[in-house]
């Protein structure tokens, strides 16, 4: 009888935790989706073309990355603001607000007119909405991770919170998937640029459909109950009066915030964003891989590697969080340069033999819209002996004002053959595998290191400084380091030089983590 009663309770608890995980994960996944659409489109150069002056594509790309980075920079402020709210009024209502803020901002980005028609208001509006997205995300993650962890059994906390950890990667996957589907739907193979329609207005669709996803998520979250630990702390009158003050002015808490940042989240952040974000930018911009294929490669790798978040989350319940995370950092430090060199070599056309008899050239002349300048587009399709195909496009703008020198813009789109494509998938898979090691157990790690009454605030800040600033700025800083390495003698610069940034930060975290972090798992998080 006792057994039957215990079994019933266990089943009810299991049912309850899966409901909690679903409600939390769906909302968090959608927030990540919203946040990453912008990043994916920025990495493809579309945000730069739409919202920034087009006289210099590199400057436009860097400006779009800066706006992309702004969303990350404000994440810690969102963590402080919403974290405080979460510790004062509860987890449930706080992350309901963050969800609405994120959905609204994303939807409105999809409505902003381009720089060509709205001038400086366009990038300014994008920047403001991007900042709101960052604030919302800053408040979301800590709440979701705390909410799940506070419902989970102590011996399965790593496993259950790992579901929240999959949402960032799945959000990225969803954003790329929606972009690919929209591109395919609008693609015109007969046009000089098959993605022209997508680049002109089709990119708005992924932003606009976010509103439907948010409605679904809000409906699910409205049915959730408040965290039992928060309710207990509240009923006992132990709610922190000022969680911000307690978190950051009390030395004991501040010490743990600093340790979590430098010993865990900073390195974890750069590994996450190098493996999943910079990799996409590198494939697309540096290797010249066709944007649709680059997205496809990332998607396949993500699908295969995502279960490892759960594997490492569950493993951390058995052997502790620390050494899994540290091993992930070590492997990333050792492997990044060889991986990126191989990625470059795989797509390097100079190392392939061109089948010249299959080369096709076409030329098209047209007037630039609304101007008397003429645009000459030369398209060369090449085929190589390993099956790789490349399209080289040279656009020359001849200005009506004859004194102005013609402007030349070159681009290439490489479509890798089967074996090369799978090599690339494997190289991305390895990088995201490192991500699963460092990121899978980290929610449980952060939850266990801080007490309930200031948990939302305290864990959110190191997480978002580590991920939002150290991690989120990775593509921006890496691109900038490569730009700085360009000289007259070497106009392409050192394409691997930027990797010293993630390697350096990961090494700092590895040393601090190994020396200072405890390897225990905290069974009791009700304090």
């Amino acid at each position: 009888m006792a057994n039957s009663s215990s079994q019933t309770t266990h089943t009810q608890t299991d049912k309850n935790i899966w409901g909690v995980i679903t409600a939390s994960s769906v909302g968090t996944l959608i927030e990540w989706y919203d946040f990453y659409i912008f990043g994916s489109l920025a990495a493809m150069g579309i945000i730069g073309k739409q919202f920034f002056p087009g006289d210099n594509p590199t400057a436009a790309f860097l400006s779009s990355l800066a706006t992309f980075a702004a969303g990350f920079i404000v994440r810690p402020f969102g963590a402080l603001f919403f974290g405080r709210l979460g510790d004062l009024i509860g987890r449930k209502y706080t992350f309901l607000v963050t969800l609405l803020l994120m959905g609204g901002s994303t939807f409105f980005i999809g409505l902003i007119p381009s720089y060509a028609s709205w001038g400086a208001f366009a990038p300014l509006s994008v920047l403001i909405l991007r900042l709101l997205q960052g604030l919302a995300l800053g408040g979301e993650y800590g709440g979701a991770a705390t909410y799940v962890a506070e419902h989970a059994a102590s011996n399965r906390r790593g496993y259950f919170t790992a579901f929240i950890q999959t949402t960032a990667t799945l959000g990225l996957l969803l954003s790329i998937g929606v972009i690919i589907l929209t591109q395919l739907f609008l693609r015109d193979e007969n046009a000089i640029n098959p993605n022209a329609t997508f680049e002109e207005w089709g990119w708005r669709i992924p932003f606009l459909i976010s509103i439907f996803l948010i409605i679904v998520s809000v409906v699910i979250r409205m049915k959730m109950h408040e965290s039992p630990m928060f309710k207990k702390v509240k009923s006992e009158g132990k709610i922190s009066k000022n969680p911000l003050k307690e978190s950051f002015t009390q030395k004991a808490n501040l010490k743990m915030v600093l340790l979590s940042l430098f010993g865990a989240t900073a390195g974890q952040g750069v590994v996450w964003y190098t493996g999943q974000y910079y990799a996409l930018s590198f494939l697309n911009k540096t290797c010249g891989v066709d944007s649709a294929q680059a997205n496809e490669i990332i998607m396949i790798a993500i699908v295969f590697v995502t279960p490892f978040f759960l594997v490492f989350g569950a493993l951390s319940d058995r052997i502790g969080r620390k050494y899994i995370m540290m091993l992930g950092l070590l492997l990333a430090i050792l492997a990044y340069r060889p991986i990126y060199q191989t990625m470059y070599d795989v797509s390097d056309l100079t190392k392939k033999k061109e089948l010249t008899e299959q080369t096709k050239k076409s030329l098209q002349a047209e007037l630039v819209k609304g101007k008397q300048d003429s645009l000459l587009t030369q398209k060369v399709n090449k085929v190589f002996d390993d099956g790789t195909k490349a399209t080289l496009i040279t656009k020359t703008t001849k200005f009506q004002d004859a004194a102005k020198a013609p402007k030349e813009e070159k681009s290439k789109a490489v479509v890798l053959s089967g074996s090369n494509k799978w090599t690339m998938v494997f190289l991305i898979f390895i990088q995201i595998f490192f991500v699963t090691m460092v990121y899978g157990p980290i929610a449980a790690f952060l939850v266990e290191i801080f007490p309930t009454k200031i948990r939302y605030t305290s864990m959110s800040l190191p997480y978002h400084v580590g991920n939002g600033i150290f991690g989120g700025l990775t593509p921006y800083i890496v691109t900038r380091i490569i730009e700085a390495s360009k000289t007259a003698e070497n106009p392409s610069g050192d394409i691997l030089s930027g990797l010293w940034y993630p390697i350096g930060i990961a090494a700092l975290t590895l040393i601090i983590g190994l020396v200072y972090l405890p390897s225990r798992t905290d069974k009791d998080v009700t304090d």
Binding site: T58, Q250, A252, L258, K453, A488, D522
Partner: protein, 91 residues
């Protein structure tokens, strides 16, 4: 391990100002070089704006973080991380 933490504490305290100096030095070197390149017509003028933007963002964000690293080093040097708290009561 405690003595390693103390020594590393000094390393972090020295590393933090070194990073700040490195950032300012890079900024002060890069801008004049870029201005010269723009004057010579080797680089577009818009690059100056994006370079300023990059350094303003980087310095504004990473100086306080470097301050945090120095504070972490100070706590480490003072032996604050000798024992890591295992419950709220120990915090």
């Amino acid at each position: 391990m405690d003595s390693i933490k103390k020594i590393l504490g000094i390393v972090w305290m020295l590393l933090a100002p070194a990073l700040i100096v490195l950032m300012f030095n890079q900024f002060m070197t890069e801008i004049p070089a870029l201005e010269k390149a723009i004057e010579a017509g080797k680089k577009p003028a818009s690059e100056l704006q994006s370079t300023y933007m990059f350094w303003i963002i980087t310095i504004t964000i990473f100086v306080p973080i470097a301050g945090g690293l120095a504070l972490f080093g100070f706590y480490s040097f003072k032996g604050e991380y000798t024992k890591i708290a295992t419950s709220s009561a120990e915090l």
